[in-house]
């Protein structure tokens, strides 16, 4: 059975660098127009349930902002 994953992005840690965006092969992550308290645009993940658990975005994120949790 295919494992399910949850993608959690800590909005306040995100700096909007966009390094996570391109590495996701199924383009799950997008930049938003939203600003966090520091004034950065933040990344968001849509359709979290599609996540394959490749962890690429989490590994790319300089700020360790993205956590991928496998659902049990």
């Amino acid at each position: 059975m295919k494992k399910r994953f949850q993608v959690a992005i800590d909005r306040e840690l995100c700096k909007g660098c966009e390094l996570c965006i391109g590495v996701c092969s199924i383009q799950l992550l997008t930049m938003t127009a939203k600003l966090n308290r520091k004034g950065y645009h933040v990344a968001e993940s849509a359709n979290t349930k599609e996540c394959t658990g490749c962890l690429k975005c989490a590994r790319m994120c300089p700020e360790a902002t993205i956590e991928i949790l496998s659902e049990p």
């Binding site: 127009a33 600003l35 308290r37 520091k38 004034g39 645009h41």
Partner: protein
């Protein structure tokens, strides 16, 4: 005339360049001008602020304690600096990133959002300048626009347009 201005925000918001621009333009017509940037740290991402003093007479102490105008662009700066506003002073507050009560001397402007909509959040500082100039007409708006145009000349004409628009939006909002 003795106008003490404080501009404050976070590292990447163009606080220091705004102060420099203001001081440079003011010095063309006002006899005594000092500009002083205070770097929070020799590091990235901290808070940033600067002071500009414009005066008809010699400025003995180039550092003010209370200010006639305060422009704050983020929450931290608002919390830290607004208390230094003179009782007759004017505060311009970047509402996009600050959450403060707004008594009458406070002018709230969603500068970052305005700038973002115009194409670059980096232009928020000019929204702030515009709003301030609307209340304190110490510099001619055309002089500001010329300065912006020549600053971005060549390198990024598109940015010049965005910044001028931002400035005008501020001017309009402030008025």
């Amino acid at each position: 005339m003795h106008e003490r201005i404080l501009i404050a925000g976070s590292g990447g918001q163009g606080i220091v360049s705004l102060g420099k621009l203001l001081a440079g333009l003011a010095a063309e017509t006002i006899p005594h001008v000092t500009f002083f940037p205070a770097y929070g740290a020799e590091v990235r991402g901290g808070t940033s602020n600067c002071q500009v003093i414009l005066s008809a007479n010699e400025i003995a102490a180039p550092i003010a304690e209370i200010f006639d105008s305060i422009l704050v662009m983020n929450q931290q700066s608002a919390e830290r600096f607004l208390k230094a506003l003179d009782q007759d002073g004017l505060a311009i507050i970047n509402q996009s990133l600050c959450n403060v009560p707004a008594p009458e001397r406070h002018l709230l402007i969603p500068a970052t959002e305005i700038a973002d909509r115009l194409g670059s959040i980096k232009a928020a500082n000019l929204v702030m300048l515009g709003a301030w100039l609307a209340h304190k007409p110490l510099i001619a708006p055309t002089a500001v626009e010329n300065a912006i145009a020549s600053h971005f000349h060549g390198a990024a004409p598109a940015l010049a347009t965005i910044n001028i628009k931002a400035f005008r939006a501020g001017l309009a909002r402030g008025g």
